[in-house]
């Protein structure tokens, strides 16, 4: 399964919403459920799913599918 797809699944699972609401260009602002609380839930799930720890700055700014992809690309061969 490709990385983008895995990210979409993590987000959909964290927010309890259907997968098709998350697209590669989705940002937190686009999704009502993706509030400040769920921001952290998603971040923790991303760490768990991909096996790495986000830095303080990354965690603060992880508000879109693209940003998540970037943080993974830095670490793992995507």
């Amino acid at each position: 399964m490709n990385t983008v797809r895995r990210i979409q699944e993590v987000i959909a699972r964290s927010l309890g919403i259907p997968l098709d609401r998350i697209q590669p260009d989705t940002k937190a602002a686009d999704i009502a459920e993706w509030d400040s609380l769920h921001h952290f839930v998603i971040a923790m799930e991303v760490e768990e799913e991909f096996g790495f720890k986000l830095s303080l700055e990354e965690l603060a700014e992880l508000d879109s599918v693209q940003k998540i992809l970037d943080s993974i690309a830095h670490r793992v061969a995507a």
């Binding site: 400040s36 952290f40 839930v41 303080l56 965690l59």
Partner: protein
């Protein structure tokens, strides 16, 4: 699934506990709806009598006061506090917490309150200075935590949840996530939130009586290393040194469960003589035959054996925990008997003790040990003796007479509240209405003049049975009482104890009329015709079941003549009234 109204009051952000708490409570078949107070508002929420908290009427309140929040002054000025100043700080914190809890207890007397012990990160500026100099912080934590014990003893609805020990177990470096603190003002890492949620869930499950009742253990490679049929007694790994010690310590923890009132049973594929020889004769065994409420040692399949154990012990399969080193056996039970809890068991006997303690922390979480708990194991053995007597008796009346039963009946008081609540939570068969009550609720009702809670204690020639009956009545008018709860432990069914109980209580209450209710469930059909037998007549049907009435119960109800009766409240001893 039980619905539960839960209020969460915290000194720091608690949102991240909600989802883990909901998941953890599912294990106990509890579905919470959660109300949270505003950030940092817990004092106002508690002290303001008109706050939303009181409108919400929670069943459980979690009051989560985090160490760093209460001790903020010291953290910000670590060397500005002398020992005396620190002592004052600890006492002030303890006093404030006591005031908050007392206020809650007064305004919500039926609500269970969970309060945590404080933990502070041991990696701090006092490393080295602590205990050796005039500076430190551990004394404040210790003084505060010690004060909670006195608070819990005073207030039956308060349960202290030892978060400090949990944090120590997890390790503070895993407990605290600095990113969550800086970005979200939350002090818990994902791991901490999950562990904390599980601890709170266990405490809540425990207050509702959702504990397992019996641990069934395998023998070979579970209670001892080796296979007795092949290695013989002398060839087993079981002793005070080396690998054998891992089994001894595992047995010791099982023995500790026995002392807390958990039943132990054996289910093993072996020749009974070989296995019993080890249990009776091996010098290093901590568990002996008398500690097991029942045994199935044979060559049949374990699922059938477990069913037989459930029947013999007269408890549901959903009360069992099955421990077996063999993954094939575990998998079988998982598939065939899904209500039985089958924990994943470590392959290494060195980890058995910890695995059992982790399991107990969830499923055998007890905040008190009643006298009946201590005797539970013995009680099952005495039960076997009574069954033998019954089989040899020439008539039922003869059996009742030769049992030499002595009944004590009294009004609920602080001492009997925990056992009464426990009985309402676990009794399913001889239970007319199956109303479940927490300790907080029973305690509150003892103060209500329109409520009368009676207990019954039974002893016979085989020994004490302990407190085994509860009658809870609610006043409808000056002399008319409704029977809200009438239950007897299944161990004492079929001995006419209920006849004595109701007759004595009716006499003590001087009731002119008694109203009874029968609410049918899957398990209580045994009492469907109880009120009819006592001469009540049926007055109607409501949404829940049948309603019954009895005029002049003091003349209509008689006490069977084979009982010796003592009413504790008035100190009377009489053979018949």
């Amino acid at each position: 699934m039980t619905d539960l109204r839960l209020a969460f009051l915290s000194s720091c952000t608690s949102e991240f506990l909600q989802q883990p708490l909901k998941s953890a409570l599912e294990l106990f078949s509890v579905r919470p709806s959660i109300w949270t107070g505003g950030f940092g508002q817990y004092r106002q929420d508690i002290l303001n009598p008109k706050s939303e908290l009181y409108e919400y009427t929670p069943d459980v309140i979690v009051l989560c006061l985090d160490g760093p929040d209460l001790l903020q002054e010291i953290n910000e000025n670590p060397f500005g506090f002398s020992e005396k100043a620190r002592r004052d700080c600890a006492e002030d914190c303890a006093a404030e917490t006591a005031t908050l809890v007392d206020t809650l207890a007064q305004r919500l007397p039926q609500t269970t309150i969970l309060l945590n012990t404080l933990a502070v990160d041991p990696l701090n500026t006092f490393v080295g200075l602590e205990y050796n100099s005039e500076f430190g912080i551990q004394d404040v934590v210790a003084t505060y935590n010690r004060s909670l014990s006195a608070l819990a003893r005073r207030l039956p609805m308060l349960k202290i949840v030892d978060v400090a020990s949990l944090a120590a177990d997890i390790g503070f470096k895993n407990w605290y996530d600095s990113r969550m603190w800086y970005l979200a003002r939350s002090r818990w890492s994902r791991t901490a939130a999950k562990a904390l949620a599980e601890l709170y869930a266990a405490a809540i499950g425990s207050s509702l009586g959702r504990l397992r009742k019996c641990v069934v253990v395998d023998l070979d490679n579970t209670l001892w290393g080796g296979i007795v049929g092949e290695d013989g007694l002398a060839g087993l790994s079981l002793g005070e040194d080396g690998i054998g010690r891992s089994y001894v310590e595992f047995q010791q923890e099982l023995l500790n469960l026995y002392s807390k009132g958990v039943l132990l049973a054996v289910c093993s594929k072996n020749n009974p003589e070989d296995a019993l020889h080890v249990i009776r004769r091996h010098p290093a065994m901590r568990l002996r035959e008398q500690h097991f409420a029942a045994m199935r040692i044979n060559w049949e399949d374990k699922a059938s054996n477990l069913r037989a154990l459930a029947e013999e012990l007269n408890i549901g399969l959903d009360s069992f925990v099955f421990i077996d080193d063999n993954p094939v056996e575990r998998s079988l039970i998982c598939q065939v008997l899904p209500e039985v809890l089958v924990p994943d068991w470590p392959a290494d006997s060195g980890e058995y003790k910890r695995a059992l303690l982790e399991l107990s922390a969830k499923h055998f979480y007890k905040t008190g040990i009643t006298a009946e708990d201590r005797r539970a194991g013995e009680a099952y053995r005495a039960q076997a003796e009574r069954r033998k007597l019954q089989e040899s008796a020439t008539s039922l009346e003869d059996f009742h007479r030769t049992l030499e039963m002595r009944v004590r009946i009294g009004r609920a008081d602080t001492f009997t509240v925990p056992r009464i609540a426990q009985l309402t939570q676990k009794t399913n068969q001889f239970n007319l209405t199956t109303r479940r009550y927490s300790e907080a609720q029973i305690s509150s009702m003892t103060q209500d003049p329109n409520c009368a809670i009676w207990w019954l204690d039974l002893a016979d020639k085989f020994g004490p049975n302990g407190l085994v009956g509860v009658l809870l009545l609610r006043r409808l008018t000056a002399e008319v009482w409704a029977i809200d709860t009438f239950l007897l432990s299944c161990r004492v069914m079929g001995r006419t104890v209920e006849d004595a109980f109701l007759a004595v209580v009716a006499h003590e209450m001087d009731a002119s009329r008694l109203i009874g209710e029968y609410r049918p469930t899957a398990k209580n059909s045994v009492v469907r015709d109880l009120y009819q037998r006592f001469g009540f007549h049926q007055t109607g049907v409501d949404g829940h079941g049948l309603l019954w009435e009895l005029e002049k119960p003091t003349t209509r109800l008689t006490i069977p003549k084979w009982f010796e009766i003592e009413v504790a409240s008035s100190g009377l001893v009489s053979a018949a009234i």
